[in-house]
């Protein structure tokens, strides 16, 4: 127990140590996180009127970000499957970064759900009258928290073993790794069912939503990990083999292709028949005329076409054999992360509310305060993820162990082992 407290103390101290770029990054994130906290305090005082939400569009940017981040969290599984099931060992040592991302993403999810509550002070009502199994939201509470526990256990156990210079006992973590793979699929399926289960919202009430969620998550998540791994490779001496990036690239390519296919299926169903229930999709992709002939409602149109454009660019890059440079891969990753973020938020959550169930068209635009709260949560999540990675790397490389105290000098922080950007096949 004492040794564990020493470990935590060392981790805490280590999170403050780094070169000027690290400190600047952390300072920036802290400032944005505090600005977000400040904005949230204003929301607590004045109510949700500080957001752009209305009775018509009753969920907005908070739930959109929540949905996207559930996908990011689920994507950790996408790293685990090839490693353990197909024995692709190149990724073996990198799985932990996916699982750490899952932990950070779930923390952000929980934060986004909390800021969306009108009465967050009543959260304990969940423990007192838990409407399980009827409410899909209670399912989500269960699966997200269990997933958080699973990943905390796996990461915590592996890091602790490395710190103690012990070989991790397979039976203490392998069953949890496999459970986490299934669980990852469950968190995103349950989150999709949250929307799919609402018969009064035809835009959501479609069986394709859950598969689309998974496909887009398994593109955006590994894309984020590709970017992270390159930062790790650049700024630490942790070994990230090219083969790992190549494997992740293949995963991302397949997932993004499936996502594009499913989008095509959905578009056909919505538009070919021209049935009345496709009105939300019409609003999303083309905008709607005002009943009184005064202008058009088309707030979401630029968003969805940007998303489609970004995802198309990403797909083109991934499928062009000549473009194998890592820089291009990075562009594709950024494009698809942004594209999928838009697709899940502005493209999936908001249009289901427009028009309202009574046919009223009220458009939604987030307020500055709402955006600040979102940025704050993102900053908080990235702060957590940076610290997790910051601590994990010296432990896994054997620089920080129980019998090896460290100092600023012995922990690699600079570009000591910057590797040349090699081509990835």
């Amino acid at each position: 127990m004492g040794a564990y407290l020493v470990f935590l103390k060392r981790c805490f101290a280590l999170s403050f140590i780094g070169d000027w770029r690290y400190r600047l990054w952390m300072l920036l994130l802290t400032v944005v996180a505090l600005l977000g906290l400040n904005a949230y305090c204003k929301q607590l005082v004045d109510g949700m009127i500080t957001t752009g939400m209305t009775d018509q569009v009753s969920w907005g940017l908070y739930i959109a970000n929540f949905t996207f981040l559930v996908g990011m969290a689920a994507a950790a599984a996408m790293m685990v499957i090839p490693v353990y099931i197909y024995k692709k060992t190149a990724l073996h040592d990198l799985v932990i970064f996916g699982e750490l991302l899952a932990v950070a993403a779930i923390l952000m999810c929980l934060a986004f759900v909390t800021v969306d509550l009108g009465r967050p002070d009543r959260f304990m009502h969940l423990f007192l009258r838990f409407n399980f199994p009827m409410s899909m939201l209670t399912w989500d509470v269960v699966v997200l928290n269990v997933y958080l526990m699973l990943n905390l256990h796996i990461c915590g156990y592996l890091v602790w073993c490395a710190y103690k210079k012990k070989k991790p006992g397979k039976k203490f973590y392998m069953p949890f790794v496999f459970l986490a793979v299934f669980w990852a699929i469950s968190i995103h399926t349950v989150t999709a069912f949250l929307y799919v289960g609402l018969g009064g919202r035809p835009f959501w009430n479609a069986a394709i939503i859950a598969p689309r969620f998974l496909a887009s998550a398994f593109a955006a998540g590994p894309a984020f990990i590709i970017l992270t791994l390159q930062i790790i490779r650049k700024f630490t001496d942790y070994n990230v083999p090219d083969e790992a990036l190549a494997l992740l690239r293949r995963i991302v390519t397949v997932a993004l292709t499936i996502n594009a296919f499913l989008l095509g299926c959905e578009l056909f169903t919505e538009f070919y028949t021209g049935a009345a229930h496709s009105i939300s999709a019409k609003y999303l992709f083309f905008g709607l005329d005002n009943h009184h002939g005064l202008g058009r409602y088309e707030a979401l149109v630029p968003w969805i076409w940007s998303a489609i454009g970004l995802n198309t660019i990403a797909l083109l890059i991934l499928y062009t054999p000549a473009v194998k440079k890592v820089a291009w891969l990075n562009i594709a990753c950024v494009a698809m992360i942004v594209g999928i973020w838009i697709e899940k938020g502005m493209g999936l959550i908001i249009p289901a509310f427009i028009p309202s169930p009574l046919g009223e068209i009220v458009e939604y635009a987030p307020t500055a305060n709402e955006i600040l709260v979102c940025l704050g949560i993102w900053a908080f999540g990235l702060l957590a993820y940076t610290i997790f990675v910051r601590i994990t790397i010296p432990v896994l490389t054997g620089k920080l162990t129980y019998d090896h105290s460290y100092s600023l000098e012995t922990v690699g922080t600079g570009e000591s082992d910057q590797k040349s950007k090699e081509t990835v096949s």
Partner: protein, 318 residues
């Protein structure tokens, strides 16, 4: 905060850590500063520990009602008569609305706001009246914001929509904390002291019947209706859902809902469907009724019908 290899801190890094910690704390306090103007009257220990409506026994309910009485008195300077009116056995309330008679005057909308102590600014309305062109009952063709000096408009009919008190309500099913449920007499209610404000029910409702308090409701003191019930029209706070409850503080005492009382053309009929002689039983027996969005499977307790010999077709005759 760098530790040297023997674990001690040198003076320079200690000062750096201390300044950093102090700066961080100052920034945190500054970030939290808006909370100074938080109205804490809604965050008392007593309220925090209050049980769910269904778990309150009579003495506990008496205490809760006493607390609400004091709150209302303090805030609105009115002594309310607040009770917890229970449903009567063997009663099931049903509403029927004559679309042929409704003239779209929206008197029901405003009577409802006054009866049920809804916020006036921003105004929360439980009833939405659609102006529909003849030839369709597709509500997407309805106008929500019609504003003529005189109603009814030629070649239009009017469709008021409020909570349909469904037998298979999607809203209660999705609530994660059971803060909303259907009472034995068919009325779906909200425990305003239990709702966590996730708005999942609002997303689930196919009739746009639920409303959220996006900010602290404001009601002029002189307009507060002092006849209140726990599950109906007692004043709400920000951050919780509310909805039409068929004026249960009136209807459970044998009165009609406020929207019916005020209707100038008698388009609204209300009563107990289990009583064969009630107005609604007669309407359901003799008129050709229909429900809105039958395909979503909610089984509404709110029926619409067109009466053949209504006054407007007579007017049209001349």
């Amino acid at each position: 905060m760098s530790c040297s290899s023997n674990g001690s801190m040198d003076r320079r890094s200690f000062f750096r850590a201390a300044t950093g910690a102090a700066g961080g704390m100052a920034a945190l306090v500054a970030a939290l500063s808006p909370l100074k103007s938080l109205d804490t009257s809604d965050f008392t220990v007593e309220k925090f520990l209050q049980q769910h409506y269904k778990e309150l026994d009579e003495t506990e309910m008496a205490k809760v009602l006493d607390r609400i009485t004091k709150e209302v008195e303090e805030r609105y300077k009115v002594r309310p008569d607040i009770r917890d009116i229970k449903p009567k056995d063997g009663v099931e309330f049903v509403y029927a609305l004559n679309l042929g008679a409704c003239i779209g005057c929206r008197k029901c909308v405003h009577a409802c706001v006054e009866e049920n102590n809804q916020s006036r600014d921003p105004e929360i309305q439980y009833i939405r009246v659609l102006e529909m062109p003849r030839g369709t009952i597709d509500i997407e063709k309805g106008d929500h914001t019609y504003d003529h000096p005189k109603v009814p408009k030629d070649d239009h009919f009017y469709m008021p929509i409020q909570c349909h008190q469904c037998e298979n309500p999607p809203c209660t099913k999705v609530c994660p904390v059971e803060a909303t449920w259907t009472e034995p007499d068919g009325i779906t209610v909200v425990d305003y002291d239990w709702c966590i404000g996730c708005r999942y029910c609002e997303a689930a409702c196919p009739y746009f019947a639920r409303r959220f308090n996006f900010t602290e409701p404001s009601i002029p003191k002189e307009e507060v209706n002092p006849t209140m019930s726990y599950l109906s029209n007692r004043p709400r706070h920000k951050g919780v859902m509310e909805k039409c409850h068929f004026c249960l503080h009136r209807t459970r005492n044998g009165q009609n809902p406020a929207c019916l009382e005020v209707c100038p053309v008698g388009a609204r009929k209300f009563g107990d469907i289990k009583d064969p002689n009630s107005d609604v039983s007669q309407v359901l027996k003799h008129k050709r009724v229909f429900v809105l969005k039958e395909e979503v499977g909610t089984i509404p307790r709110f029926f619409y019908y067109f009466d053949e010999d209504y006054h407007r077709s007579e007017e049209k005759g001349d």
